[in-house]
Amino acid sequence: MTASVPSITVRGSAGHDGTMLFDGLEMHIGAGQWTCLLGPSGVGKSTLLRLLAGLDTHVDFNGTLETSDGIPLAGRVSYMAQSDLLLPWATICDNVGLGSRLRGEKPNLEKLTKVIADVGLGDHAEKRPGQLSGGQRQRAALARTLMEDTPVVLLDEPFSSLDARTSFDMQELVARHLGRRTILLVTHDPGEAVRLCHRIYILKQGRVDQVESLAPPFPRDFADPEVFARQSALMARIREDTG
């Protein structure tokens, strides 16, 4: 990755038809760090992520979205969702190189081959998504994100549909490959947040609070007692706050 890696600050409120989704939000997403937005389903985590991605949200956002380098986020963001979003009619190779084709550019074949091999799908490049397992499909989605090579990556619960073992492996893989990009991870799993993120925010009942996170390096070992302790504390905090 050659482009500069910005930090992002979001301030403001959002709502729809008089119902406030969040108010007085102030969230800082550190440059080259993992920031986690944690909270139960339906509180507006994905809406916030969609605002950053420049996608439709069906809410009115009143606020500012600033980057440390002053350059707008458009064109510098890639997106990985809970669903792998692989096009079922295209091969893994075509799916990974989709961004280039959508922009009318010729895919860099050397990079394409390397990225697919890096996520362990070298033998599956010519297969269709339907021929792969859930974990392999998420690896392909990661390869597509790596191929985009953007400085900002938005992750919308990308591990939540995987089984525990595959989810853990994917977390390691994503953390290793996305390197020092600016990352916002939306999740409802406190364990994931503690292991992966430099900064953790909890979104609930319309407000966002920052909670204490562990010190680097990330990802932290899952057997680390500190991870267990922080995960339990975080879980207790979420339960207490949501009643």
Partner: protein, 245 residues
């Protein structure tokens, strides 16, 4: 039992019921010929039937190809242009409110007794199902695919041809399968109203000469042709769409 065996068993059962009904009711041959009579008529007239079959088949295939192309272009227009939606949709719906039967004499008057009026009849009858099914597929492209494309910085037309059209292919294929069934109806109506060739014309000619066995042989040939066409199109489209989710 395999699919082909079920089809053969069903055909044998229908033929047996038909033959049984003819024997039991003693209905005259000029009202309802026996299966054997129809088979004999087919063998004796296979060259004549084949000649007219080629005409009808050509009309139907041309109708399906041209109608499908027009339907695709219209669906894309409807999807990409609000003005086209506002302008074309009422016309499309109005065109479906008029029975194709009612248009057949007009088309024959305007386009003559030749093949063109029958091809146009076939086009008219399949145009709406193809347009409608493809348009539905285009507008129902999963939003998540479009979101992904948006974050990748695409253009409207690349998004259309790389995401929406492939995503809508299964819906389009359903429309084409319907077209394969409807197009022979359109062509045959056209032949009934005014023609000098085709299976529809042969059926009318045989009926007028009280050659009911030949009429049935033509009718059965038309049915087999339609089923064969549907099977070929269905298998081809099935192979094309097996990766579409």
């Amino acid at each position: 039992m395999s699919g082909a065996r079920y089809i053969i068993a069903a055909l044998v059962a229908v033929a047996a019921i038909w033959e049984f009904a003819v024997i039991v009711t003693g209905v005259p041959r000029y009202i309802l010929p026996s299966v054997g009579d129809v088979m004999v008529a087919f063998v004796n007239n296979w060259s004549l039937i084949g000649e007219h079959l080629i005409v009808t088949l050509t009309e139907v295939v041309l109708g399906i190809v041209i109608g499908t192309c027009l339907g695709c272009v219209t669906a894309i227009q409807l999807e990409t242009s609000r003005a086209a939606r506002l302008f074309l949709r009422p016309i499309l719906i109005f065109s479906q409110a008029i029975p194709v039967f009612a248009l057949a004499p007009l088309l024959t008057l305007w386009l003559g007794y030749g093949m063109i009026s029958k091809v146009v009849m076939a086009i008219l009858i399949i145009y709406f199902p193809v347009t409608s099914s493809f348009y539905d597929g285009l507008v129902n492209t999963p939003k998540s695919y479009l979101d992904l494309a948006t974050t990748m910085g695409t253009t409207k037309w690349r998004q259309l041809f790389l995401i929406k059209v492939p995503a809508a292919a299964p819906s389009l294929f359903s429309g084409i399968r319907l077209a394969a069934v409807y197009a022979p109806i359109g062509a045959t109506i056209g032949e009934w109203v005014g023609s000098s060739q085709g299976l529809g014309y042969l059926m009318l000619l045989a009926s007028g000469r009280v050659k009911i066995d030949l009429m049935f042989a033509s009718l059965l040939t038309l049915g087999v042709m339609s089923m064969g066409l549907y099977a070929i199109i269905s298998v081809t489209l099935g192979r094309l769409s097996r990766f579409n989710g």
